[in-house]
């Protein structure tokens, strides 16, 4: 083993050991990435379901105001968990103007007020409610459901009165069979499409954000703590130092991203068992290219972050540069979500950050287009080299031993 390689390995190993000895790091790079997607996709829906069930069991009070309220409408309400109070009254202005009911609804004396009035053959209505109150919103929603059912009955009755068949009149165009079977995309491809909408986003944002802390700690942090001077007086070159630190940051970031993907796959597996989403079908080539694209992206990002952090005189300065720089990832990531991949122009695959994100989207759909692969791999390699060159330049600066503290 060459001396240079041994030194790089020693630096990387020390960086990792020192970094993981901080429990906060363990939480940041292991616990959070591992739990993020399962919490988002499994626990969060369960919580939502339980909240919805709680809301379903709620009994709401609705006051129905109007003259000659149809019995059939009252019957619709009687079949729900709505308690109704009828008030016989007429209206001399628009039904939507709350008037004196403002305070009654705001003070929760009633959850909602339904006003209904017949003018010639048309029924007019409005629902006075408080949108910031869950029970009031629920009362409105249930009232609307009841009104729709009642309206359907009314419509059917009027169609029959006119001598027509309600079913053929209201539904003259129908899908034949199961509409899912008409999609020629396989379940795996459909899953790939769904995943391609957020995996590139997650990977890029997480790679960038999880590299921030170790990058700063290993550069500006060392500078601030005064450990860099002792290190620079050692026989290792600055190139070895950069490579060792890069390996350290890349390993920590890699673990974080890997764990996050594992969490994501676990969540997908869970959802797949409930027929929500399938498992994406990826060829070996697409899988390999996904790994290569992520690696090239990580090389570029980590080198860039190390360089920017090394330029900074303090941890604070490095943080104030790197934290907002995440916008440089988020914006392209969101932008690439809306780019249509069918017939996409090749130049998109040459734009930094966008190229890798598009490559990931395409590969997750199992589309391996040689021209695109060539462009994104070459440009990514170029950007990664440029970032590494920039980082080398920063590490070769003499003033990296001086601090502001």
């Amino acid at each position: 083993m060459s001396k240079s390689f041994t030194r790089v390995k020693t630096i990387a190993k020390k960086e990792i050991v020192e970094f993981v000895r901080d429990w906060r790091t363990i939480v940041a790079i292991i616990v959070i990435p591992l739990l993020m997607f399962p919490v988002l996709f499994i626990v969060f829906p369960i919580l939502l379901e339980s909240e919805a069930a709680e809301l379903d069991s709620l009994t709401v009070l609705v006051e129905i105001q109007g003259q000659e309220i149809p019995e059939s409408l009252i019957l619709e309400f009687n079949n729900t968990s709505i308690i109704i109070e009828q008030v016989n009254m007429t209206f001399n202005q628009s039904l939507s103007i709350p008037g004196e009911d403002v305070d009654r609804v705001r003070n929760m004396e009633v959850d909602a007020v339904l006003r209904i009035e017949s003018r010639e053959d048309i029924w007019y209505y409005s629902i006075i409610y408080l949108s910031t109150s869950e029970s009031s919103t629920e009362a409105r929603s249930r009232t609307i459901d009841s009104l729709i059912r009642w309206e359907n009955g009314l419509t059917e009755a009027r169609i029959i009165e006119g001598g027509l068949e309600p079913e053929t009149t209201l539904d003259p165009l129908r899908w034949d069979g199961d509409n899912r079977s008409a999609d020629v995309a396989t379940v795996g491809e459909q899953a790939g499409l769904i995943l391609s909408l957020f995996i590139p986003l997650v990977l890029s944002v997480w790679t960038f954000s999880s590299a921030i802390q170790p990058s700063i700690d290993m550069t500006a942090g060392e500078r601030e703590r005064g450990t860099l001077e002792a290190l620079l007086s050692l026989p290792c070159t600055r190139g070895e130092l950069l490579l060792g630190k890069w390996l350290g940051v890349a390993s920590i970031t890699g673990v974080g991203v890997l764990l996050q993907i594992m969490g994501l796959l676990f969540a997908i597996g869970y959802l797949a068992s409930s027929d929500f989403i399938g498992v994406p079908e990826l060829s070996a080539t697409a899988t390999l290219l996904i790994v290569i694209s992520i690696m090239l992206f990580a090389i570029m990002i980590v080198a860039l972050e190390l360089a920017l952090a090394m330029r900074s005189h303090s941890v604070k300065e490095a943080g104030s540069i790197l934290a907002p720089a995440i916008i440089l990832i988020i914006f392209p990531a969101l932008f690439t979500q809306v780019i249509n991949l069918d017939g996409i122009e090749s130049f998109w695959f040459a734009i930094p950050v966008v190229n890798v994100l598009l490559a990931l989207r395409e590969l997750l759909l199992d589309r391996v287009i040689f021209e695109h692969v060539l462009i994104w791999s070459m440009t990514s390699l170029f950007y990664a080299t440029m970032a590494a060159y920039y980082a080398t330049k920063q590490f070769n600066r003499e003033d990296i031993v001086t601090t502001l503290s």
Binding site: K3, T6, R7, T10, I11, K14, V17, E18, R21, D22, R225, G226, T227, L228, E229, A230, L231, L232, S233, L234, P235, C236, E398, D399, V401, T402
Partner: protein, 279 residues
């Protein structure tokens, strides 16, 4: 006369417009303890960084006896910077081992040397402890052990007793004397004259980046016609001391504009006292 180990020839160091060192020349001979004495901002740390290969001279050379530039032979040097530079999440021994491995020294060899000097510094029991809770003295001792573990030819110490309590400072000085007795070569930067007189065979006085004197304490006194080293030093350094070059460096670009905008224009004492000092 003992052999020359390190030669500093016409060394200039500039940081932009700031001239940190101006044509400094001297040599370090084997087995001697050389004191670098000067006020804050004199250029001692810059010179030590040049000698350790962290900085490169703007002009001039710093070479080892075989003519090799010092930055290519850094394994001949042991360096203790002023900040000590210890990693708080590593133990004392892990800090030492990390540097030794980067010097290419086997763990067994560096451990044996560490234990030997740790006894002198009363640090044996602290080697397996994390350095996070270490006192300034313990940190300094650990940094010394780290610099000695690979058996350097020259040891460069930047103000090794600064901020240390009396006992720790004595222990550090005792170690330097021990090294001298064993034939070691040490460059010892300090701004305390009594310490330089106690420890060093030869004193180099640097002031505002210029070498003002180079000789034994008695030579400096006779050179200046003074009865004490302190008087000799004052005599040699009458010119007003400048700022450290880091402080003297001007901001540029946005920082300059920003600082100009927010720099307080009135001394804070005036603000607090109502703005009129004459009253």
């Amino acid at each position: 006369m003992s052999e020359s180990l390190l030669q500093i020839s016409g060394v200039h160091k500039e940081f932009g417009d700031v001239k940190a060192l101006n044509g400094v020349s001297f040599e370090i001979r084997s087995g001697e303890v050389v004191g670098l004495v000067g006020s804050n901002g004199a250029g001692k740390t810059t010179l030590l960084r040049l000698m350790s290969g962290v900085y490169r001279p703007t002009r001039g050379d710093i070479t080892l006896s075989n003519g090799t530039p010092v930055h290519k032979m850094r394994d001949s040097l042991g360096v203790v910077p002023e900040s000590t530079g210890l990693y708080s999440r590593l133990t004392a021994w892990e800090n030492i081992r990390y540097h030794s491995r980067l010097y290419g020294i086997d763990d067994e060899v560096s451990w044996a040397r560490t234990v030997k000097f740790a006894e002198s510094l009363d640090m044996e029991d602290n080697l397996s402890r994390y350095t996070k809770g270490f006192s300034r003295g313990m940190r300094q001792k650990t940094a010394l052990l780290r610099a000695l573990a690979h058996g350097p030819k020259v040891l460069l110490l930047d103000e090794p007793t600064a901020g240390l309590d009396i006992t720790s400072a004595r222990t550090v000085r005792a170690l330097v004397n021990q090294l001298k007795d064993e034939g070691g070569t040490v460059v010892y930067s300090t701004h305390q004259l009594f310490e330089a007189q106690q420890v060093c065979d030869r004193i180099i006085v640097i002031h505002n980046g210029v070498l003002k004197a180079n000789g034994s304490p008695s030579e400096l006194m006779s050179q200046t016609g003074c009865n004490s080293l302190e008087e000799a030093y004052v005599n040699l350094t009458q010119e007003k001391a400048r700022m450290r070059f880091e402080d003297a460096k001007e901001d540029n670009g946005i920082s300059k504009w920003w600082n100009k905008l927010f720099r307080p224009k009135t001394p804070i004492i005036q603000v607090l006292s109502g703005g009129d000092e004459d009253e």
